[in-house]
Amino acid sequence: MRYKSAKALSKSLIYLVLTLGAVTTILPFLWMILTSLKGGTEVILMPPRLFPSVWHFDNYSRAMEAAPLATYFVNTVVVTVTSTSLMLIVTTLAAFGFSRLKFPGRDVVFGILLATLMIPGEMLIITNFVTISRLGWMDTRAALIVPFMASVFYIYLLRQFFRKVPDTLYYAAKVDACSDWRYLWKVMVPINKQAMSTIAILNAIACWNAFLWPLMVTNSETKRVLSIGLVQFQTEAGTDYELLMAAASMLVLPIILMYLVMHKQIIKGVTQSGIKG
Protein backbone atom coordinates (compact mmCIF):
# COMPACT_ATOMS: atom_id res chain seq x y z
CA MET A 1 0.00 0.00 0.00
CA ARG A 2 2.70 2.44 1.03
CA TYR A 3 4.65 1.57 -2.07
CA LYS A 4 1.65 2.29 -4.27
CA SER A 5 0.88 5.72 -2.85
CA ALA A 6 4.56 6.64 -3.03
CA LYS A 7 4.48 5.59 -6.64
CA ALA A 8 1.39 7.69 -7.34
CA LEU A 9 3.05 10.63 -5.66
CA SER A 10 6.20 10.34 -7.72
CA LYS A 11 4.11 9.92 -10.87
CA SER A 12 2.27 13.16 -10.21
CA LEU A 13 5.55 14.85 -9.42
CA ILE A 14 6.83 13.72 -12.79
CA TYR A 15 3.76 15.13 -14.54
CA LEU A 16 4.08 18.40 -12.69
CA VAL A 17 7.75 18.87 -13.57
CA LEU A 18 7.29 17.77 -17.16
CA THR A 19 4.31 20.08 -17.64
CA LEU A 20 6.11 23.09 -16.21
CA GLY A 21 9.11 22.35 -18.39
CA ALA A 22 6.90 21.84 -21.40
CA VAL A 23 5.21 25.22 -20.93
CA THR A 24 8.49 27.14 -20.89
CA THR A 25 9.73 25.06 -23.79
CA ILE A 26 6.71 25.53 -25.94
CA LEU A 27 6.30 29.26 -25.29
CA PRO A 28 8.93 30.58 -27.73
CA PHE A 29 7.72 28.11 -30.33
CA LEU A 30 4.13 29.15 -29.84
CA TRP A 31 5.15 32.79 -29.98
CA MET A 32 6.87 32.16 -33.28
CA ILE A 33 3.72 30.62 -34.77
CA LEU A 34 1.33 33.22 -33.34
CA THR A 35 3.52 36.13 -34.38
CA SER A 36 3.53 34.79 -37.91
CA LEU A 37 -0.22 35.46 -37.93
CA LYS A 38 -0.20 38.97 -36.50
CA GLY A 39 -0.47 42.36 -38.15
CA GLY A 40 2.56 44.63 -38.48
CA THR A 41 1.83 46.97 -35.56
CA GLU A 42 0.79 44.21 -33.20
CA VAL A 43 4.12 42.47 -33.33
CA ILE A 44 6.05 45.19 -31.53
CA LEU A 45 3.39 46.03 -28.96
CA MET A 46 4.48 46.16 -25.35
CA PRO A 47 3.23 44.46 -23.28
CA PRO A 48 2.92 41.82 -25.97
CA ARG A 49 -0.35 40.20 -26.85
CA LEU A 50 -0.01 36.47 -27.32
CA PHE A 51 -2.91 36.05 -29.73
CA PRO A 52 -3.43 38.17 -32.84
CA SER A 53 -6.51 40.40 -32.85
CA VAL A 54 -6.97 39.66 -36.54
CA TRP A 55 -5.51 36.45 -37.94
CA HIS A 56 -3.26 37.35 -40.85
CA PHE A 57 -2.92 34.13 -42.79
CA ASP A 58 -1.84 36.25 -45.74
CA ASN A 59 1.55 36.70 -44.03
CA TYR A 60 2.42 33.27 -45.35
CA SER A 61 1.61 34.10 -48.93
CA ARG A 62 3.46 37.42 -48.55
CA ALA A 63 6.50 35.62 -47.16
CA MET A 64 6.38 33.17 -50.03
CA GLU A 65 6.39 35.97 -52.58
CA ALA A 66 9.67 37.29 -51.26
CA ALA A 67 11.80 34.42 -52.51
CA PRO A 68 11.53 31.56 -55.01
CA LEU A 69 10.66 29.18 -52.22
CA ALA A 70 9.83 26.21 -54.42
CA THR A 71 13.33 26.11 -55.92
CA TYR A 72 14.87 26.74 -52.53
CA PHE A 73 12.79 23.96 -51.02
CA VAL A 74 13.93 21.39 -53.58
CA ASN A 75 17.55 22.46 -53.12
CA THR A 76 17.29 22.24 -49.37
CA VAL A 77 15.83 18.74 -49.53
CA VAL A 78 18.49 17.56 -51.96
CA VAL A 79 21.33 19.05 -49.93
CA THR A 80 19.98 17.84 -46.59
CA VAL A 81 19.31 14.30 -47.75
CA THR A 82 22.62 13.88 -49.59
CA SER A 83 24.64 15.51 -46.89
CA THR A 84 23.02 13.55 -44.09
CA SER A 85 23.37 10.19 -45.86
CA LEU A 86 27.02 10.77 -46.70
CA MET A 87 27.69 12.07 -43.20
CA LEU A 88 26.08 8.98 -41.71
CA ILE A 89 28.28 6.63 -43.74
CA VAL A 90 31.51 8.51 -43.12
CA THR A 91 30.71 8.94 -39.43
CA THR A 92 29.76 5.31 -38.90
CA LEU A 93 32.98 4.09 -40.54
CA ALA A 94 35.09 6.49 -38.52
CA ALA A 95 33.33 5.80 -35.23
CA PHE A 96 33.84 2.08 -35.79
CA GLY A 97 37.49 2.61 -36.65
CA PHE A 98 38.07 4.64 -33.54
CA SER A 99 36.13 2.44 -31.14
CA ARG A 100 36.65 -1.14 -32.24
CA LEU A 101 39.62 -1.38 -34.61
CA LYS A 102 43.21 -0.80 -33.64
CA PHE A 103 45.81 0.89 -35.81
CA PRO A 104 49.03 2.71 -35.05
CA GLY A 105 48.48 6.25 -33.81
CA ARG A 106 44.75 5.76 -33.39
CA ASP A 107 44.40 7.61 -30.14
CA VAL A 108 46.63 10.45 -31.26
CA VAL A 109 44.59 10.90 -34.43
CA PHE A 110 41.39 10.82 -32.44
CA GLY A 111 42.83 13.38 -30.05
CA ILE A 112 43.60 15.68 -32.96
CA LEU A 113 40.07 15.24 -34.27
CA LEU A 114 38.67 16.14 -30.87
CA ALA A 115 40.93 19.16 -30.74
CA THR A 116 39.44 20.49 -33.98
CA LEU A 117 36.13 20.87 -32.15
CA MET A 118 37.75 23.43 -29.92
CA ILE A 119 38.21 26.07 -32.55
CA PRO A 120 35.09 28.14 -33.17
CA GLY A 121 33.66 27.54 -36.62
CA GLU A 122 33.41 31.28 -37.19
CA MET A 123 37.20 31.36 -37.57
CA LEU A 124 37.20 28.90 -40.45
CA ILE A 125 34.75 30.54 -42.82
CA ILE A 126 37.06 32.82 -44.78
CA THR A 127 39.77 30.21 -45.31
CA ASN A 128 37.19 27.65 -46.36
CA PHE A 129 35.64 30.17 -48.71
CA VAL A 130 39.02 30.56 -50.39
CA THR A 131 39.50 26.77 -50.51
CA ILE A 132 36.11 26.30 -52.13
CA SER A 133 36.81 28.89 -54.77
CA ARG A 134 40.25 27.37 -55.49
CA LEU A 135 38.59 23.97 -55.91
CA GLY A 136 36.24 25.62 -58.39
CA TRP A 137 33.24 24.66 -56.28
CA MET A 138 31.80 28.10 -55.87
CA ASP A 139 28.07 28.09 -56.48
CA THR A 140 27.82 24.28 -56.61
CA ARG A 141 26.10 21.73 -54.41
CA ALA A 142 29.46 20.18 -53.59
CA ALA A 143 30.34 23.32 -51.65
CA LEU A 144 27.24 22.83 -49.52
CA ILE A 145 27.75 19.11 -48.94
CA VAL A 146 31.39 18.06 -48.87
CA PRO A 147 32.66 20.19 -45.97
CA PHE A 148 29.98 18.67 -43.72
CA MET A 149 30.49 15.04 -44.68
CA ALA A 150 32.58 14.38 -41.62
CA SER A 151 31.39 15.61 -38.28
CA VAL A 152 33.76 15.08 -35.37
CA PHE A 153 30.86 15.92 -33.11
CA TYR A 154 28.93 12.86 -34.22
CA ILE A 155 31.92 10.60 -34.75
CA TYR A 156 32.63 11.12 -31.07
CA LEU A 157 29.01 10.54 -30.04
CA LEU A 158 28.68 7.39 -32.08
CA ARG A 159 32.02 6.14 -30.79
CA GLN A 160 30.62 6.43 -27.24
CA PHE A 161 27.64 4.32 -28.25
CA PHE A 162 29.79 1.77 -30.06
CA ARG A 163 31.98 1.42 -27.01
CA LYS A 164 28.95 0.53 -24.92
CA VAL A 165 28.51 -2.63 -26.99
CA PRO A 166 30.15 -5.47 -25.01
CA ASP A 167 33.45 -6.82 -26.33
CA THR A 168 32.13 -10.36 -26.04
CA LEU A 169 29.86 -9.81 -29.03
CA TYR A 170 32.84 -8.88 -31.16
CA TYR A 171 34.94 -11.86 -30.15
CA ALA A 172 31.98 -14.20 -30.63
CA ALA A 173 31.61 -12.82 -34.14
CA LYS A 174 35.33 -13.24 -34.77
CA VAL A 175 35.06 -16.89 -33.76
CA ASP A 176 32.32 -17.24 -36.37
CA ALA A 177 34.79 -15.80 -38.89
CA CYS A 178 32.72 -12.68 -39.32
CA SER A 179 34.78 -9.89 -40.93
CA ASP A 180 35.00 -6.44 -39.34
CA TRP A 181 33.03 -5.06 -42.25
CA ARG A 182 30.18 -7.52 -41.78
CA TYR A 183 30.29 -7.10 -38.01
CA LEU A 184 29.87 -3.35 -38.41
CA TRP A 185 26.83 -3.50 -40.66
CA LYS A 186 25.19 -6.63 -39.28
CA VAL A 187 25.75 -6.13 -35.57
CA MET A 188 26.88 -2.65 -34.59
CA VAL A 189 24.60 -0.65 -36.84
CA PRO A 190 21.36 -2.45 -35.94
CA ILE A 191 22.16 -2.27 -32.22
CA ASN A 192 22.80 1.44 -32.41
CA LYS A 193 19.93 2.27 -34.72
CA GLN A 194 18.48 4.67 -32.14
CA ALA A 195 21.73 6.60 -31.78
CA MET A 196 22.26 6.72 -35.53
CA SER A 197 18.83 8.07 -36.25
CA THR A 198 19.32 10.66 -33.52
CA ILE A 199 22.51 11.75 -35.23
CA ALA A 200 20.77 11.80 -38.58
CA ILE A 201 18.02 14.03 -37.20
CA LEU A 202 20.42 16.41 -35.48
CA ASN A 203 22.58 16.68 -38.57
CA ALA A 204 19.62 17.13 -40.87
CA ILE A 205 18.34 19.97 -38.69
CA ALA A 206 21.72 21.68 -38.67
CA CYS A 207 21.96 21.29 -42.42
CA TRP A 208 18.39 22.45 -42.97
CA ASN A 209 18.90 25.60 -40.91
CA ALA A 210 22.46 26.44 -41.95
CA PHE A 211 22.54 30.00 -43.13
CA LEU A 212 25.87 31.78 -43.34
CA TRP A 213 27.83 29.11 -45.20
CA PRO A 214 25.19 28.49 -47.92
CA LEU A 215 24.92 32.24 -48.41
CA MET A 216 28.68 32.55 -48.71
CA VAL A 217 29.22 29.85 -51.31
CA THR A 218 26.19 30.32 -53.53
CA ASN A 219 25.21 33.16 -55.81
CA SER A 220 22.54 31.90 -58.15
CA GLU A 221 18.96 31.31 -57.14
CA THR A 222 19.09 27.81 -58.58
CA LYS A 223 21.64 26.78 -55.96
CA ARG A 224 20.31 28.58 -52.91
CA VAL A 225 18.49 27.11 -49.94
CA LEU A 226 15.47 28.00 -47.80
CA SER A 227 17.24 29.59 -44.86
CA ILE A 228 18.55 32.30 -47.17
CA GLY A 229 14.93 33.31 -47.72
CA LEU A 230 14.85 34.42 -44.07
CA VAL A 231 17.12 37.41 -44.61
CA GLN A 232 14.50 38.91 -46.87
CA PHE A 233 12.70 40.34 -43.87
CA GLN A 234 15.58 41.93 -42.03
CA THR A 235 16.89 45.32 -43.05
CA GLU A 236 19.23 47.77 -41.36
CA ALA A 237 16.36 49.89 -40.13
CA GLY A 238 14.25 47.11 -38.67
CA THR A 239 12.71 43.72 -39.13
CA ASP A 240 9.32 42.61 -40.42
CA TYR A 241 8.90 40.14 -37.60
CA GLU A 242 5.54 38.80 -38.73
CA LEU A 243 6.94 37.79 -42.14
CA LEU A 244 10.20 36.58 -40.65
CA MET A 245 8.30 34.34 -38.25
CA ALA A 246 6.04 33.10 -41.04
CA ALA A 247 9.09 32.07 -43.02
CA ALA A 248 10.75 30.58 -39.93
CA SER A 249 7.62 28.56 -39.17
CA MET A 250 7.53 27.23 -42.70
CA LEU A 251 11.18 26.34 -42.36
CA VAL A 252 10.73 24.20 -39.23
CA LEU A 253 7.52 22.48 -40.20
CA PRO A 254 9.16 19.79 -42.37
CA ILE A 255 11.66 19.09 -39.59
CA ILE A 256 8.97 18.55 -37.01
CA LEU A 257 7.16 16.22 -39.38
CA MET A 258 10.38 14.33 -40.01
CA TYR A 259 11.00 14.08 -36.28
CA LEU A 260 7.51 12.76 -35.62
CA VAL A 261 7.82 10.14 -38.34
CA MET A 262 11.30 9.04 -37.35
CA HIS A 263 10.41 9.16 -33.69
CA LYS A 264 7.61 6.64 -34.19
CA GLN A 265 9.92 4.50 -36.24
CA ILE A 266 12.55 4.56 -33.53
CA ILE A 267 10.18 3.70 -30.72
CA LYS A 268 8.80 0.84 -32.82
CA GLY A 269 12.29 -0.36 -33.66
CA VAL A 270 13.32 -0.37 -30.04
CA THR A 271 10.31 -2.21 -28.73
CA GLN A 272 10.33 -4.79 -31.53
CA SER A 273 13.94 -5.79 -31.51
CA GLY A 274 14.15 -5.56 -27.73
CA ILE A 275 17.64 -4.13 -27.88
CA LYS A 276 19.73 -4.87 -24.88
CA GLY A 277 22.65 -2.85 -23.66
Partner: protein
Protein backbone atom coordinates in the same frame (compact mmCIF):
# COMPACT_ATOMS: atom_id res chain seq x y z
CA UNK B 1 56.94 -13.43 -45.75
CA UNK B 2 53.57 -13.00 -47.40
CA UNK B 3 51.86 -13.67 -44.12
CA UNK B 4 53.89 -11.01 -42.44
CA UNK B 5 52.99 -8.41 -45.03
CA UNK B 6 49.35 -9.38 -44.62
CA UNK B 7 49.67 -8.70 -40.93
CA UNK B 8 51.38 -5.40 -41.62
CA UNK B 9 48.50 -4.37 -43.85
CA UNK B 10 46.00 -5.65 -41.34
CA UNK B 11 47.41 -3.32 -38.75
CA UNK B 12 46.54 -0.40 -40.98
CA UNK B 13 43.11 -1.61 -41.99
CA UNK B 14 41.48 0.45 -39.26
CA UNK B 15 42.92 3.53 -40.83
CA UNK B 16 40.95 2.87 -44.01
CA UNK B 17 37.73 3.15 -42.03
CA UNK B 18 38.60 6.55 -40.68
CA UNK B 19 40.27 7.85 -43.84
CA UNK B 20 37.26 9.53 -45.51
CA UNK B 21 36.54 11.47 -42.34
CA UNK B 22 40.20 12.40 -41.96
CA UNK B 23 40.47 13.83 -45.46
CA UNK B 24 37.45 16.07 -45.04
CA UNK B 25 38.51 17.24 -41.59
CA UNK B 26 42.06 17.85 -42.78
CA UNK B 27 40.97 20.08 -45.66
CA UNK B 28 38.11 21.97 -44.03
CA UNK B 29 39.14 22.12 -40.39
CA UNK B 30 42.79 21.34 -39.74
CA UNK B 31 44.13 23.42 -42.63
CA UNK B 32 42.17 26.58 -41.74
CA UNK B 33 43.08 25.98 -38.13
CA UNK B 34 46.78 25.94 -38.96
CA UNK B 35 46.31 29.08 -40.99
CA UNK B 36 44.63 30.75 -38.04
CA UNK B 37 47.55 29.68 -35.87
CA UNK B 38 50.02 31.24 -38.30
CA UNK B 39 47.88 34.32 -38.69
CA UNK B 40 48.02 34.94 -34.96
CA UNK B 41 51.68 35.84 -35.47
CA UNK B 42 51.04 38.30 -38.30
CA UNK B 43 51.52 41.77 -36.90
CA UNK B 44 51.33 43.66 -40.17
CA UNK B 45 49.19 41.99 -42.78
CA UNK B 46 47.63 43.14 -46.00
CA UNK B 47 44.49 41.12 -46.47
CA UNK B 48 43.67 42.06 -50.06
CA UNK B 49 46.98 40.72 -51.39
CA UNK B 50 47.60 38.16 -48.61
CA UNK B 51 51.04 39.60 -47.89
CA UNK B 52 52.55 39.51 -44.44
CA UNK B 53 54.76 42.48 -43.72
CA UNK B 54 55.95 41.42 -40.29
CA UNK B 55 55.64 38.63 -37.74
CA UNK B 56 55.71 38.78 -33.97
CA UNK B 57 53.85 38.09 -30.76
CA UNK B 58 52.24 41.53 -30.55
CA UNK B 59 48.77 40.11 -31.04
CA UNK B 60 49.16 38.03 -27.91
CA UNK B 61 50.55 40.86 -25.83
CA UNK B 62 47.72 43.01 -27.13
CA UNK B 63 44.87 40.71 -26.12
CA UNK B 64 46.28 40.06 -22.68
CA UNK B 65 46.55 43.79 -22.13
CA UNK B 66 43.05 44.40 -23.48
CA UNK B 67 40.50 44.91 -20.71
CA UNK B 68 37.71 43.80 -23.05
CA UNK B 69 39.44 40.46 -23.64
CA UNK B 70 39.92 40.01 -19.90
CA UNK B 71 36.23 40.68 -19.44
CA UNK B 72 35.49 38.15 -22.18
CA UNK B 73 37.67 35.55 -20.45
CA UNK B 74 36.10 35.97 -17.04
CA UNK B 75 32.56 36.06 -18.47
CA UNK B 76 33.20 32.88 -20.42
CA UNK B 77 34.57 31.05 -17.38
CA UNK B 78 31.63 32.07 -15.20
CA UNK B 79 29.28 31.09 -17.97
CA UNK B 80 30.78 27.62 -18.42
CA UNK B 81 30.90 27.02 -14.68
CA UNK B 82 27.15 27.56 -14.35
CA UNK B 83 25.70 26.42 -17.64
CA UNK B 84 27.37 23.04 -18.17
CA UNK B 85 26.70 21.25 -14.86
CA UNK B 86 23.26 22.74 -14.30
CA UNK B 87 22.11 21.99 -17.81
CA UNK B 88 23.31 18.38 -17.64
CA UNK B 89 21.71 17.77 -14.25
CA UNK B 90 18.36 19.18 -15.35
CA UNK B 91 18.31 17.44 -18.70
CA UNK B 92 19.30 14.10 -17.16
CA UNK B 93 16.37 14.28 -14.75
CA UNK B 94 13.99 15.37 -17.50
CA UNK B 95 15.25 12.64 -19.85
CA UNK B 96 14.72 9.97 -17.20
CA UNK B 97 11.20 11.28 -16.61
CA UNK B 98 10.48 11.34 -20.34
CA UNK B 99 11.65 7.76 -20.56
CA UNK B 100 9.17 6.61 -17.89
CA UNK B 101 6.00 4.85 -18.87
CA UNK B 102 3.78 7.91 -18.72
CA UNK B 103 0.76 9.09 -20.60
CA UNK B 104 1.44 11.52 -23.47
CA UNK B 105 5.06 10.42 -23.52
CA UNK B 106 5.38 10.93 -27.24
CA UNK B 107 3.82 14.38 -26.95
CA UNK B 108 6.19 15.42 -24.18
CA UNK B 109 9.21 14.11 -26.05
CA UNK B 110 8.23 16.13 -29.10
CA UNK B 111 7.69 19.27 -27.05
CA UNK B 112 11.11 19.02 -25.43
CA UNK B 113 12.59 18.66 -28.88
CA UNK B 114 11.02 21.92 -30.13
CA UNK B 115 13.68 24.38 -28.92
CA UNK B 116 16.06 22.59 -31.21
CA UNK B 117 14.07 23.73 -34.22
CA UNK B 118 12.68 27.07 -33.06
CA UNK B 119 14.17 30.11 -34.76
CA UNK B 120 16.95 31.64 -32.66
CA UNK B 121 15.54 35.09 -33.35
CA UNK B 122 12.19 34.01 -31.92
CA UNK B 123 13.84 32.58 -28.82
CA UNK B 124 15.84 35.75 -28.30
CA UNK B 125 12.74 37.91 -28.58
CA UNK B 126 10.64 35.77 -26.27
CA UNK B 127 13.33 35.73 -23.61
CA UNK B 128 13.86 39.46 -24.08
CA UNK B 129 10.20 39.77 -23.23
CA UNK B 130 10.32 37.33 -20.27
CA UNK B 131 13.18 39.38 -18.82
CA UNK B 132 11.68 42.77 -19.69
CA UNK B 133 11.86 45.18 -16.76
CA UNK B 134 8.30 46.51 -17.19
CA UNK B 135 6.31 43.71 -18.75
CA UNK B 136 8.41 40.65 -18.14
CA UNK B 137 6.85 37.53 -16.64
CA UNK B 138 9.93 36.98 -14.50
CA UNK B 139 9.57 40.32 -12.74
CA UNK B 140 5.87 39.67 -12.41
CA UNK B 141 6.55 36.48 -10.46
CA UNK B 142 9.24 38.14 -8.38
CA UNK B 143 6.70 40.88 -7.64
CA UNK B 144 4.37 38.28 -6.12
CA UNK B 145 7.04 37.73 -3.50
CA UNK B 146 7.44 41.46 -2.97
CA UNK B 147 10.68 41.73 -4.92
CA UNK B 148 11.22 44.99 -6.77
CA UNK B 149 11.45 44.81 -10.59
CA UNK B 150 14.93 43.85 -11.76
CA UNK B 151 16.42 45.58 -14.80
CA UNK B 152 17.67 42.21 -16.08
CA UNK B 153 18.88 43.16 -19.54
CA UNK B 154 19.67 46.82 -18.88
CA UNK B 155 22.27 46.50 -16.12
CA UNK B 156 25.69 44.94 -16.49
CA UNK B 157 25.34 43.16 -13.13
CA UNK B 158 22.17 41.23 -14.02
CA UNK B 159 22.73 40.73 -17.74
CA UNK B 160 25.12 37.80 -17.30
CA UNK B 161 22.78 35.85 -14.98
CA UNK B 162 20.00 36.42 -17.51
CA UNK B 163 22.25 35.07 -20.26
CA UNK B 164 23.07 32.01 -18.16
CA UNK B 165 19.41 31.26 -17.51
CA UNK B 166 18.60 31.61 -21.20
CA UNK B 167 21.52 29.38 -22.20
CA UNK B 168 20.66 26.62 -19.74
CA UNK B 169 17.17 26.58 -21.16
CA UNK B 170 18.45 26.57 -24.71
CA UNK B 171 20.94 23.75 -24.18
CA UNK B 172 18.42 21.37 -22.58
CA UNK B 173 16.98 20.07 -25.84
CA UNK B 174 20.22 18.68 -27.23
CA UNK B 175 21.16 16.95 -23.99
CA UNK B 176 17.70 15.49 -23.56
CA UNK B 177 17.76 14.11 -27.10
CA UNK B 178 21.06 12.30 -26.66
CA UNK B 179 20.23 11.11 -23.14
CA UNK B 180 16.97 9.68 -24.42
CA UNK B 181 18.86 7.87 -27.16
CA UNK B 182 21.20 6.53 -24.50
CA UNK B 183 18.45 5.53 -22.09
CA UNK B 184 16.75 3.45 -24.71
CA UNK B 185 19.79 1.25 -25.07
CA UNK B 186 19.63 0.32 -21.38
CA UNK B 187 17.79 -2.97 -21.25
CA UNK B 188 14.59 -3.15 -19.26
CA UNK B 189 15.92 -6.24 -17.48
CA UNK B 190 18.25 -4.10 -15.37
CA UNK B 191 15.30 -2.24 -13.92
CA UNK B 192 13.26 -5.41 -13.54
CA UNK B 193 16.09 -6.87 -11.52
CA UNK B 194 16.23 -3.73 -9.44
CA UNK B 195 12.52 -3.86 -8.77
CA UNK B 196 12.84 -7.44 -7.61
CA UNK B 197 15.37 -6.13 -5.12
CA UNK B 198 12.78 -3.42 -4.35
CA UNK B 199 15.31 -0.69 -5.01
CA UNK B 200 13.80 2.80 -4.83
CA UNK B 201 13.76 5.28 -7.65
CA UNK B 202 16.81 7.11 -6.40
CA UNK B 203 18.79 3.88 -6.09
CA UNK B 204 17.73 2.83 -9.59
CA UNK B 205 18.79 6.22 -10.88
CA UNK B 206 22.15 6.32 -9.13
CA UNK B 207 23.04 2.62 -9.39
CA UNK B 208 21.77 1.75 -12.85
CA UNK B 209 20.89 4.74 -14.96
CA UNK B 210 23.89 6.94 -14.26
CA UNK B 211 26.58 4.24 -14.50
CA UNK B 212 25.13 2.70 -17.66
CA UNK B 213 24.69 6.12 -19.21
CA UNK B 214 28.12 7.31 -18.13
CA UNK B 215 29.74 7.27 -21.61
CA UNK B 216 26.93 9.48 -22.88
CA UNK B 217 27.07 11.74 -19.83
CA UNK B 218 30.81 12.08 -20.34
CA UNK B 219 30.15 12.99 -23.95
CA UNK B 220 27.53 15.56 -22.93
CA UNK B 221 29.99 17.07 -20.47
CA UNK B 222 32.80 17.41 -22.96
CA UNK B 223 30.60 18.66 -25.76
CA UNK B 224 28.83 20.99 -23.33
CA UNK B 225 32.15 22.30 -22.13
CA UNK B 226 33.48 22.84 -25.63
CA UNK B 227 30.33 24.48 -26.94
CA UNK B 228 29.89 26.64 -23.84
CA UNK B 229 33.42 27.91 -24.13
CA UNK B 230 32.46 28.83 -27.68
CA UNK B 231 29.23 30.64 -26.68
CA UNK B 232 28.26 33.33 -29.15
CA UNK B 233 24.82 32.83 -30.72
CA UNK B 234 23.04 32.97 -27.34
CA UNK B 235 24.53 36.38 -26.56
CA UNK B 236 23.68 37.64 -30.01
CA UNK B 237 20.09 36.40 -29.79
CA UNK B 238 19.31 37.55 -26.26
CA UNK B 239 20.65 41.07 -26.66
CA UNK B 240 19.60 41.57 -30.26
CA UNK B 241 23.03 41.76 -31.86
CA UNK B 242 24.91 43.41 -29.00
CA UNK B 243 27.13 41.98 -26.29
CA UNK B 244 24.84 43.08 -23.46
CA UNK B 245 24.65 46.55 -21.90
CA UNK B 246 28.00 48.32 -22.47
CA UNK B 247 29.55 45.04 -23.69
CA UNK B 248 29.14 43.54 -20.22
CA UNK B 249 28.27 40.09 -21.61
CA UNK B 250 31.07 39.83 -24.12
CA UNK B 251 32.46 36.30 -24.51
CA UNK B 252 35.66 35.04 -26.07
CA UNK B 253 34.03 34.06 -29.35
CA UNK B 254 32.02 37.27 -29.47
CA UNK B 255 35.28 39.14 -29.04
CA UNK B 256 36.93 37.03 -31.70
CA UNK B 257 34.05 37.40 -34.12
CA UNK B 258 34.01 41.14 -33.71
CA UNK B 259 37.77 41.44 -34.14
CA UNK B 260 37.66 39.30 -37.27
CA UNK B 261 34.54 40.36 -39.14
CA UNK B 262 33.85 43.86 -37.87
CA UNK B 263 37.22 45.28 -36.97
CA UNK B 264 39.16 43.20 -39.50
CA UNK B 265 41.95 42.63 -37.00
CA UNK B 266 42.71 39.15 -38.32
CA UNK B 267 45.84 38.67 -36.25
CA UNK B 268 44.19 39.64 -32.99
CA UNK B 269 41.17 37.48 -33.71
CA UNK B 270 43.41 34.52 -34.49
CA UNK B 271 45.42 35.02 -31.31
CA UNK B 272 42.17 35.01 -29.32
CA UNK B 273 41.17 31.80 -31.12
CA UNK B 274 44.46 30.15 -30.22
CA UNK B 275 44.08 31.14 -26.57
CA UNK B 276 40.54 29.80 -26.54
CA UNK B 277 41.76 26.60 -28.15
CA UNK B 278 44.42 26.11 -25.47
CA UNK B 279 41.96 26.73 -22.66
CA UNK B 280 39.45 24.24 -24.01
CA UNK B 281 42.22 21.74 -24.69
CA UNK B 282 43.42 21.94 -21.09
CA UNK B 283 39.91 21.45 -19.71
CA UNK B 284 39.15 18.60 -22.06
CA UNK B 285 42.32 16.74 -21.18
CA UNK B 286 41.55 17.08 -17.48
CA UNK B 287 38.02 15.92 -18.06
CA UNK B 288 39.06 12.95 -20.17
CA UNK B 289 41.46 11.91 -17.39
CA UNK B 290 38.69 12.09 -14.82
CA UNK B 291 36.29 10.32 -17.12
CA UNK B 292 38.74 7.49 -17.70
CA UNK B 293 38.57 6.67 -14.02
CA UNK B 294 34.85 7.24 -13.61
CA UNK B 295 33.19 6.21 -16.82
CA UNK B 296 31.81 2.73 -16.93
CA UNK B 297 31.98 1.05 -20.31
Amino acid sequence: MMRKRGLELGRWKGLLYVLPALVVVAVFTVYPLLRAFLMSFYTKYKFSTDTVLSYGINNYTYIFGDSVFQKALSNTFIYVLFVVPISIAISLVLAVMLNEKIRLRSFFQTVYFLPYVTSVVAMGIVFGWLFHSNYGLLNYFLGLFGIQPVQWLNRPSTALPALIIFSIWKSLAFNIIIFLAGLQTIGAHYYQAARVDSAGRWRQFSRITVPLLSPIIAYAFIIGLISSFKVYAEVYALFGGRAGPADSCITIVYYLYRQFYVNWNFGIASAAAVVLFLIILAFTVIQLRVAKRRVHY
